[in-house]
Amino acid sequence: MHLLRTFARAAGTAAVLLSTTALVQAADVSFLTHWGPDTVAKLEAAAAAYTKDHPDTKITVRAVPFGDLLTTLRSSGGGADGATIAGIYDAWLPDLSKDKLVAPVPDAIAADTKANWPAGVIGAASIGGTLYGIPNEIDVYALNYNKKLFAAAGITDAPKTWDEFLADAEKLTDKSKGQQGFGMINSWAAGVLHPFASLLVSNGGELVVDGKPTLDSKQATETFELYEKLIKSGYSDPAMATADANTTGPFLDNFVSGKTGMIIMANWWESALKAGMGDNFADVATAPIPVGPSGDTARSISYSWMTVVNAKASADEQKAAWDFLSWLNGPSSGPNGASAMGDILMSMGILPSRTSDGAAFKDKLEGDAFLKGYTETLANAKGFPVVLGGQEFSEALQKTLEAVQFGQLSAADAQKTAQSDATEILTRAAQ
């Protein structure tokens, strides 16, 4: 009997002791991110430099794989134990702010941010005019193609219109070699949606206007039909398009090994390409998205990331967090007038969105032939819709597009389903 009680008491005490968040000395700031270990090391170095000048702020980095980032954010939401700072994808902002999980940027810092970042990303980081995060990464999509395969097929320039695009896809497809003209992607939401959306906007269409989906437009019809044609004609092989949970997989391997002629992808996959292709990376070139029959100029889809602060953290922690973020994203923290954040992003081959970073890294950006194709596209890029229910909207559209890829749905049916799903999801989420 006594043994039991002692055991229970000891366990209980131990539980309380071990589980209570560590004795807070001033501000304990945690930073949740999806970055890989190399990049995390850079972030930790920046944090160490900050702590040297601000000894009462302790910063720890928590890294999770990208696939788990949203889940981690959501499961830790509603508690003071959640990470103080989190790097989030702009599409997640509306739902997080609706559930009151993110705090608005303090006025002084907000004013400074609005002055130093382009209007587009500021918009993506705001809800109803209130700024909720400091933007960092901006990503955009472009057509990637294999110059060697182009030469072998007798193609000199990148396709500028959809007709040229389809013609080139046909020339590049060679079943006997297991070669496909255009690579699609499946099993990964962004991989399925963003290339489709890029083609849609390059055709003059939109995904969502004023909170209402416009997937029933003529421009959307043409885009769905383009996909249907690519699959039916065999220019795209869905079995070669699989992506793993870590956003790589056969779709990447096939482009790397020269089995895919063209693919639409974002700028950040440059490091994966370099690592996989080695010297053959010189065969890769980038170009703007081909323009559709209803489009006027080449457009692309962009999306951004930002850092937000946990609304449920203590006032001290929130203040310390914003101060750190303001420094991290400011011109004094990195080399040559760049920000430490900009420096971290450039190390991953990712474009920083801060205007002064664009200037500070001008030479590097212009010297990189691969990135050039992307920076050119940036001017005409439309942000991927940032709406309430955005994640669910994306996942539903993803399933419909995958059904088209595998020939399970016709373009017409897919369009109908996509529009009705989107309408239902967005109206429900807006309530």
Binding site: M1, L3, L4, A15, L18, S19, T20, L32, H34, G36, P37, D38, R62, A63, V64, P65, F66, D68, T72, S75, S76, G78, G79, D81, G82, A83, D244, A245, N246, T247, T248, G249, L252, D253, V256, S257, W268, W269, S271, A272, L273, A275, G276
Partner: protein
């Protein structure tokens, strides 16, 4: 952990008449074939962990590394803190196992040797939880653990698992077989019930305890869904199985196959080693009578 430690033969193999008949030859071939197929994935895992990144990406696949090297293993320790992860896994597995053994012994003893009202009803109720997949209770359990302020810590992972219906079932089955006279004698000598349980009964069911140890330890060492949900990105609390998934996103995934296989090999070692050690216990004495009925 809904499985029974059933296990093996109760008597050692008798020496057969080793006539090499066609039948025995065919059987031997079959046995070897099945063993090879069963062992193949694990063998591939270990071999790949010793290959260079180029060898892992080679088309067609390379089976044997030209010059096996431990590069991948040293890289693993760059990416995840192996020591810390193993420690976390060990804490989770050990604490849970010890607690399960204690609570199961106590409850199993009561069900096996005590008379009290509603005994069978209570036992049936507890047993029914064996058939409940954890996902069914995941969401509210997550919030409950949050109310107890245990999220993000190893305790949050451990505390909901300190007792287990299967363990109770197993202990009850085996304690039933302990002679009442033994227990009475100890009581007459003035021993408290706890004493009786831990000094007399427990040693008599050691094989069952060994079986339960193996299953509880391995199950909680390998457990993924619950720790993932509770630990919320607190990477220094991650057990090794969750740390493994961080290996996947290393270098955005390009050329990390060897790395992932090395990490997987490391994660696989402790449960398999423990199994090889404790397996002898089964062969010696665990009776499948536990499975009856």
């Amino acid at each position: 952990m809904t499985a029974i430690a059933a296990a093996a033969d109760t008597r050692p193999l008798e020496r057969p008449h080793r006539r090499i008949t066609a039948v025995s030859a065919a059987l031997t071939i079959l046995i070897v074939a099945v063993a090879v197929v069963a062992a193949f994935p694990l063998a591939w895992m270990v071999l790949t962990s010793l290959k260079t990144p180029q060898e892992t990406m080679h088309v067609p696949p390379v089976w044997l590394p030209a010059s096996p090297n431990l590069e991948a293993y040293s890289k693993v320790s760059d990416v995840v803190s192996i020591g810390r992860s193993f420690f976390n896994s060990a804490v989770i597995a050990l604490v849970t196992t010890v607690a399960i053994i204690i609570t199961s012994l106590m409850a199993g003893y009561a069900f096996a040797k005590y008379q009290f009202r509603y005994r069978e009803l209570l036992f049936a109720l507890l047993l029914s939880t064996m058939f409940l997949p954890p996902i069914v209770t995941l969401i509210p359990l997550y919030r409950i653990v949050g109310y107890l302020e245990l999220t993000g810590s190893l305790w949050g992972v451990v505390v909901p698992n300190l007792a287990n219906a299967f363990g109770i079932f197993l202990m009850r089955q085996f304690i039933r077989g302990v002679p009442d006279e033994l227990i009475e004698a100890a009581r007459v000598d003035g021993a408290s019930e706890l004493r009786v349980l831990f000094q007399i009964v427990a040693p008599s069911v050691l094989p069952a305890i060994a079986a339960l140890t193996l299953f509880a330890f391995v199950y909680h060492w390998n457990s993924y869904l619950w720790p993932l949900t509770v630990l919320q990105g607190n990477a220094d609390q991650y057990p090794i199985v969750i740390s493994l998934s961080r290996l996947l996103s290393y270098n955005r995934g390009a050329m990390n196959t060897g790395l992932v296989m090395a990490g997987a090999t490391l994660a696989v070692l402790p449960p398999v080693v423990l199994f090889v050690i404790l397996q002898r216990f089964f062969v010696d004495s665990v009776i499948s009578s536990g499975v009856k009925g």
